[in-house]
Structure formats: structure tokens, C-alpha cells
């Protein structure tokens, strides 16, 4: 290797100290929306053709419904979600001081149910939990993602980054091998995206229903023949937090539509 090339490489490295090899620079980050065909984009763009909006409507009804032994609704504490929930989902997963770890929006909803409504937790991927989380996240549509900025969340962002870079499964692939190094190429006919979680919970044409980012991460893991982490596990929460911090500044799209 010539000395000039070594210097050029060193300069590049110095110019981007925060980026690990293969990471996508901030100005090159793109929502999965930009990888879709015009028909699927049209499905997301119009609220009366976006099937995710059915869940947002259900969530709006649940927001005002009293429940639990406290007989309280979300609205009894939080009022009108249009103002009180604006921007909230863009900050999640968020660090919870009492627990000393980050919690996802789904977990926050269930913590609210346990602590304030004295109601049973809603199961992961249940229609009610997805609907509430879609309704809350929808209030942030168009706002930039800020999750992971809290200094207390940093160690967990780093944990998530480590998991994203770590090869796993029988195919011995890390998330980064596809989503940092090979986005815009195709895998079995489908475009490989940057894995920017801008629109969760989102409506997948494949699922024919709304689903969480954790569900998506678990299907990626089974795709590489790895044992998927359990819903709500520290590993999935850390990955979710890293992905949201990696999408910093991209606008929220909930409920997005994806193939």
C-alpha cells in the first residue's frame, strides 16, 4: 500500500470519528419508504387507504376507555393525546429512572396500566397493545426521531450497537452485513433497506396486520437461523434503542406500510 493511500484512509477515519466501519453517515440515512414501489407508497400516503389507520382508530377508542381496578382511562391522566403525546414516541425507548433501564413504548403502556390503572398487562403483539401504541406513535408523525439522546441511555445504545454488529445464527450474519453494507441491493427479489425504524408499529403486507419493531427483529433473526430474543428482553430493547438512535432526525411515519 502506498503511503498516500494510508494517509487518505487515515483522513477519512479522522473525519468520521463516531462512525464505525460500515455505518451509514447521517445525511445518507433513508426511511424504508424510499425503497418501496409507488403502489405501496400510495397505500401509506392516504389515510383512508392505509390499513394501519384502522388500528390508530381502535387505539383512539381505547385511549378514552376506563379500565383496571382504578377505573381510569389513559385520557383521565394524559388528556388529549393530540397534544400530550405529541413527540413522545419519537423519544422511545426511553430511560426509566425507577427501573434503571430503557423501556419501549409498549412497556411504558403496560407500566401505566400496572401502576395507574391497576390493570393486567396487555400481551405483546395483542391487538389492543398495538392499537394503543399506534395511536400514541401516530401523534408524533412527521416529527424527528430523538431516542437515545439521554446520556443515561448511552450504555444501552452501545449494547444495542454491539448486538447489531455481532454475527449470529447458522448463516453467521450480523444486522450490519445487510443493512449497513448492502442496502439498495436485493435479497431474493426484495430490496434490502437500511433498517430505519421510522414507522412502527407498522402494517406489513406480508403480515396483513400491524406489528411491532420487536416482531420485525425476531423475523430477521429467524431469517439468519438464529434463536430470536424474547419479546421485552433486554437485548431486543437495546437493539430497538440503537436502531432508533441510528435513525436520529428521520421523521416518524406511524403507521407506516411496508411490503
Amino acid at each position: 500500500m502506498s503511503i498516500w493511500r494510508a494517509i487518505a484512509a487515515a483522513t477519512l477515519f479522522a473525519a468520521a470519528p463516531a462512525l464505525l466501519a460500515g455505518e451509514i453517515p447521517p445525511d445518507a440515512r433513508r426511511s424504508g419508504y424510499s425503497f418501496m414501489g409507488p403502489e405501496t407508497r400510495a397505500m401509506q400516503d392516504n389515510d383512508t387507504s392505509n390499513p394501519g389507520m384502522l388500528f390508530v382508530l381502535d387505539g383512539e377508542a381505547l385511549w378514552g376507555k376506563k379500565g383496571g381496578s382504578a377505573d381510569k382511562s389513559c385520557a383521565d391522566c394524559h388528556g388529549d393525546a393530540r397534544s400530550s403525546m405529541k413527540g413522545v414516541a419519537a423519544r422511545y425507548p426511553a430511560f426509566d429512572k425507577a427501573l434503571g433501564r430503557p423501556v419501549t413504548l409498549d412497556q411504558r403502556i403496560n407500566l401505566c396500566r400496572a401502576n395507574h390503572q391497576q390493570a393486567a398487562a396487555l400481551p405483546y403483539e395483542s391487538r389492543d397493545l398495538l392499537a394503543l401504541s399506534a395511536f400514541v406513535a401516530h401523534q408524533s408523525r412527521g416529527l424527528p426521531i430523538t431516542a437515545g439522546s439521554d446520556p443515561q441511555a448511552k450504555p444501552f445504545v452501545e449494547q444495542g450497537r454491539g448486538l447489531f454488529m455481532q454475527r449470529e445464527g447458522q448463516l453467521n450474519l450480523a444486522c450490519t452485513n445487510c443493512h449497513d453494507d448492502n442496502f439498495d441491493k436485493r435479497l431474493a427479489g426484495a430490496p434490502i433497506t437500511q433498517a430505519q425504524p421510522t414507522g412502527y408499529p407498522l402494517y406489513r403486507l406480508e403480515w396483513q396486520t400491524l406489528g411491532s419493531l420487536e416482531r420485525r427483529l425476531r423475523s430477521c433473526m429467524s431469517g439468519v437461523r438464529a434463536q430470536a430474543y424474547e419479546y421485552g428482553s433486554p437485548e431486543l430493547v437495546a437493539l430497538e434503542l440503537y436502531l432508533m438512535s441510528r435513525a436520529h432526525g428521520l421523521p416518524m411515519e406511524t403507521p407506516a406500510v411496508r411490503p
Partner: protein, 105 residues
């Protein structure tokens, strides 16, 4: 369970308007099996109808090849102010309705 209806709030007499109707339903085909080999029974919407001030203007028979959360878009001529009524019926006694109003000038 929610339904999303799109009817223009206002139209001019004689305009051809688009109507869109989207409703929540799993549309279980009856051809899928669970992991332990049991057939998941069919559970679909089989029929949709739209009435404009009481008169049927559009009807559809749906089959398992219609995707979950059925979406339908169709057209009609705006004739008079009034009400559109939508009705979905299906397996296991399923029935749901929705309505939307229009002002025709």
C-alpha cells in the same frame, strides 16, 4: 373494530365521485394449517354492499383471495344530498355497518 370510509363531504350534482371503504377483518382463508397440522377454519367477509339514500349502488362478493382488512374503491354519480350506508357480512354471522353523508349542490 374500525372502518375507514372516504366519501367527499361536498360534490356538484352530476360529478362522478370515488368512494373508498376499508374495514378490519382477518380474512382467514380456510386453507392454512397451524404448526400442529390443524386446519384453521375459514373466516371471511363474503359480501359488501353500499346504498345511497336507500338504493343499492354497488355490491361485491368476496372470496378468500381478498387480502385481510378488505379495501374497496368504486364510483358513483353524485345525485342528491344524503347518506351512504355500507354493510359487510360474512362467516360466523359477521355483520358490520358504517355510514357517511354528502352534500350535493
Amino acid at each position: 373494530m374500525a372502518a375507514l370510509i372516504n366519501v367527499p363531504a361536498k360534490a356538484r350534482r352530476g360529478d362522478v365521485i370515488e368512494i373508498r371503504a376499508l374495514t378490519s377483518h382477518i380474512m382467514e382463508t380456510g386453507f392454512r394449517h397451524t404448526a400442529d397440522g390443524k386446519l384453521v377454519p375459514r373466516d371471511i367477509i363474503t359480501s359488501f354492499a353500499c346504498r345511497y339514500n336507500g338504493a343499492e349502488i354497488f355490491r361485491a362478493d368476496l372470496f378468500p383471495a381478498i387480502a385481510a382488512n378488505p379495501y374497496l374503491s368504486f364510483f358513483t354519480v353524485a345525485k342528491e344530498s344524503g347518506k351512504f350506508e355500507f354493510e359487510w357480512t360474512g362467516d360466523n354471522g359477521y355483520s358490520s355497518t358504517a355510514s357517511a353523508s354528502i352534500t350535493v349542490e
